[in-house]
Symmetry: C2
Subunit: 369 residues, 2 copies
């Protein structure tokens, strides 16, 4: 049962655009960035939505690690590929321009691929693959990030939580949308465990002695000091397949940097050795595949939808309510909140009020009544 107050989607959208503009982001770019952040809330992915508006975007514009005006250089372009320098501007703006180009290329050539370097946080990965899917195509993307994941048999945070994301058209109301980190969990989940006062399951975090820890508050404190690391999907060691998740994380690390020759791993910490801030210089990759160049979009939709339906209808574990397919929970979240608006907790409310007042904007939020 949702107990938080809602903000109408339209109001949230125009508010975020106005704030971005007040921070120096051009109007057209502000509209893109607001839509990416709000799409996360629409899907119920609250770790990447308006909760990040101030700390991950606006505060970084203020401290100089994120440039509000995104100067995009196309470093290389061929009929099927694009290499783009985002010049430390808004990663979401660069990614949007990239996906527009790749969808057009895949419309003509069937396959397209691109990479962005010198970039910043690009929001939910599934936004970009969703642009391909709405054009009737398969989207694949990944990005590197600040080091937090240790390799199998290692204890040092080396790689980002590196999502490897696929969205594919189906004949259902919503696509197959697989959008998550290649680590067992990401920070946001441990913050959630701490908030609800629960221990973190064993095996999700590796400590310098090669063991694991479950105290959620302690994990968060140690993580900030680089004193523990997340495990790759599959967990600690090799017995439960941890080396497989480690492989997926590495694939994303390589593709995010190597297509452009950009920086990787420890270079992406956002900190200089003296503790001062530096540019993040993230890299992302994007591939688009057009099913019309295979046996056609209708065939693809029908087969993909059939697989999803049969999975959901298969025999459940006793006590299990539902078998989901990827993207279904996000679709359910949207059904639940599309008419109500975006639920905002106390900390986000405070940030929105702070931004309104410091930007001298004329909004009155429903939660103020």
């Amino acid at each position: 049962m949702e107990t938080r107050p809602y903000i109408p989607w339209d109001m949230l959208n125009s508010f975020m655009i106005d704030v971005f503009k007040a921070y120096g982001v051009p109007e057209e770019d502000a509209a893109i960035c607001a839509d990416v952040l709000i799409e996360s809330d629409r899907r119920g992915i609250e770790s990447h939505g308006c909760n990040r508006f101030k700390p991950i975007y606006l505060d970084r514009i203020k401290n100089g690690t994120l440039l509000p005006v995104t100067k995009i250089d196309i470093v290389k372009e061929t009929p099927t590929t694009v290499v783009m320098d985002a010049n430390n501007g808004m990663g979401m703006v660069a990614s949007y321009r990239m996906m527009e180009m790749l969808v057009e290329k895949a419309r003509t050539y069937g396959m397209a691929g691109g990479t962005v370097f010198n970039s910043t946080h690009y929001g939910i990965a599934g936004y970009w693959t969703g642009m391909a899917e709405r054009a009737g195509m398969i989207g694949i993307t990944g990005t590197n990030a600040r080091p937090s994941v240790a390799p199998t048999w290692g204890v040092e945070p080396m790689m980002g939580t590196n999502p490897l994301t696929f969205t594919m058209p189906t004949d259902e109301e919503f696509p197959f949308n697989f959008d998550c980190a290649t680590s067992t969990v990401q920070n946001g989940k441990i913050e959630y465990y701490e908030r609800i006062g629960k221990p973190t399951p064993a095996g999700l975090v590796v400590t310098p002695d090669g063991g694991t820890m479950t105290d959620s508050g302690q994990i968060l404190r140690d993580m900030r000091q680089g004193q523990c690391a997340l495990t790759p999907l599959g967990g600690l060691g090799e017995d439960t397949g941890g080396y497989k998740g480690y492989g997926f994380t590495t694939i994303v690390e390589i593709l995010s940097a190597a297509l452009a020759g950009g920086p990787y791993m420890k270079e992406l910490s956002g900190k200089n050795p003296d503790g001062s801030n530096k540019m993040y210089r993230l890299g992302h990759f994007f591939f688009v595949i057009n099913p019309e160049f295979f046996m056609g979009l209708d065939t693809f939709r029908e087969t993909a939808g059939g697989i999803c339906r049969e999975l959901r209808a298969s025999q459940k574990a006793p006590g299990a309510e539902r078998i989901y397919t990827a993207g279904e929970k996000e679709w359910d979240a949207w059904q639940e909140r599309k008419d109500k608006g975006c639920p905002v907790g106390e900390s986000v409310q405070k940030e929105l009020l702070y931004l309104r007042d410091t930007c001298n904007l004329d909004y009155r939020f429903p939660f103020e009544d």
Copy 2:
């Protein structure tokens, strides 16, 4: 310490070609199939090498579920894509022809993709991505397979162990080669646990009551009856990320079938409802990406190699000997056995002798002395 006798690689190769020919496989195709199977042994992946020669290929030719002469129909071809019908012939021959075509297309267009349907077991997935890598490109492949993996919160074997495989060039002696199932383990690993008399770790298998089991022998018996299923990477339920592995397995299931509109999941059991054999009708997909259409192969190699080296050099857990990167163990296996030959255990020896005698071939194996 290896105690099994070795067979020289050349002898094994010419023997396998001769046997395939005796089973009706054309000489050129036999050479491809022998090389795929032997490559698995070269890499130390003994679950997919000459141990499978008789049961998975020759016995299936004999029982009519695998046609020795591979009639390939190109159902659709564009400058960047290929859809191929393998007509229930050798999946390895169709995949070889496919990769030859895709590498040429990616040389010209930068990106290429293909799918094969009505196919059969294509050997190690990494063979196909390796063909791209040897041409200086990134290879990606996956295949569906007989249903054995349950979705998260499900207990029924629905999907194959569906590998999602990437090989990428580096500046080292060997590429980054990630080649494994998207389930926590595959059957071969449980057979291994049984052979060495060890229990299977908890969470790798789900039973009809939604729990797990660890008795390796019992698991194998129950698997054959469809009475238990493998879990996706990340294990049971959602706490340790099982839904992520489930997502990867589903991605492979969709891409393997939907690009061609081929069959999927339960349709791939190889059995009719009355228990008689039917054609497997597997599907595979392949993507090739040419780094020369991005910032160039040398840049790609250097960055990918740098990532691998830094991962290996990172801080190890106390007691851990080494941090590996994907493909390194396979490279080590090859270094160890390249001059000695292929080690063969007793059961494989018996199969080789049986094949020699029934095919009236004139070979004398070192293990006979």
